[in-house]
Symmetry: C2
Subunit: 187 residues, 2 copies
């Protein structure tokens, strides 16, 4: 595939990524994506044969972005507390989107878990990237149960994001991030 | 409406309640509900003109059930710690459904928040029932910030349910419920 093909493919995946996040996977049609990517449906089918294929590409894109972000923190901050604080504060970096649409990983996984179990398994890989990275930080802190602590932190962040978006409440989000930072400092 | 009408209406709302929980609101069609309630579509339209109307009835049903449950705990256990422990342990009472489909309140609200903001406002009333009851328990414990503590507990329970269902992990769920019970005891 030449440069133009790569470019079109990337446009489709970027448009789908945003639509799946903002509207949900099931509420986004093939036509919605073609329109947002400004491609004709015929042209579009050249790149993707089904919405499931696009979802796989979107998940791969999100995984790459997530890995890059987590790796940059590991590189910039050797100290695990600092890494964990970056993770917790990510909820404030993305606050306006989180308060409006929830967590892109949590909301997608929850939606797919209802009726699309096969696709859900792919989406869980996004959680796995985060969980493994968190477990690594917890291990470096020599905690007794690093796997359990990683799952606990992930769960609390998910709950805070969900309730923050349900109530569209930035003050709640800030307070809970502060609480989590204090928790991280005590580890 | 006579007894038969009441009965048919109730059958529709019960069937829709389960389908919305198991499949999601958007993935459930009018026909799915009619079929599950074993009514013809014509008969069905006599009771409900739209899926939105059914959702309102489902939300009212869930609210009544939730209120009855919370009130029974307040009645049976005068002591707020005991009430809060019942709330936390509700996650284990419903564990098989929670591990498969997530929280009925959280997953519905999150789904509707994407593209159906008007309906989402109705669904948030379910969270409000819980939040207000939790705040009442926290107030009776004479905590400094009962509203904030209520939101915090609600958020953690949502996150635990979400992650428990993502990983379909009963051991994680039990461990986190134990952690929350210990947290409640320290209040």
């Amino acid at each position: 595939m030449g440069n133009k093909g790569d470019h079109n493919r990337q446009r489709i995946v970027e448009a789908a990524d945003q639509l799946f996040y903002h509207r949900g996977y099931n509420q986004t049609s093939f036509s919605d994506i073609a329109q947002a990517a400004e491609l004709s449906r015929g042209n579009f089918y050249y790149y993707f044969k089904s919405k499931d294929e696009i979802l796989s590409a979107v998940i791969a894109r999100r995984r790459d972005q997530l890995c890059a972000r987590l790796e940059s923190w590991s590189r910039d901050f050797a100290e695990p507390h600092a890494c964990l604080r970056c993770f917790v504060r990510m909820m404030l970096d993305n606050r306006s989107e989180l308060l409006r649409y929830g967590c892109p990983v949590g909301s997608l996984t929850q939606e797919l878990s209802k009726t699309q179990r096969k696709l859900q398994v792919e989406a869980v890989a996004l959680f796995e990237v985060i969980r493994v990275w968190l477990e690594d930080q917890m291990s470096r802190l020599k905690l007794q149960d690093p796997a359990g602590m990683a799952m606990h932190l992930l769960a609390v962040c998910q709950g805070v994001t969900l309730l923050g978006s349900v109530y569209a409440d930035p003050i709640f989000l800030e307070r809970e991030v502060g609480r989590l930072e204090a928790w991280v400092d005590r580890l």
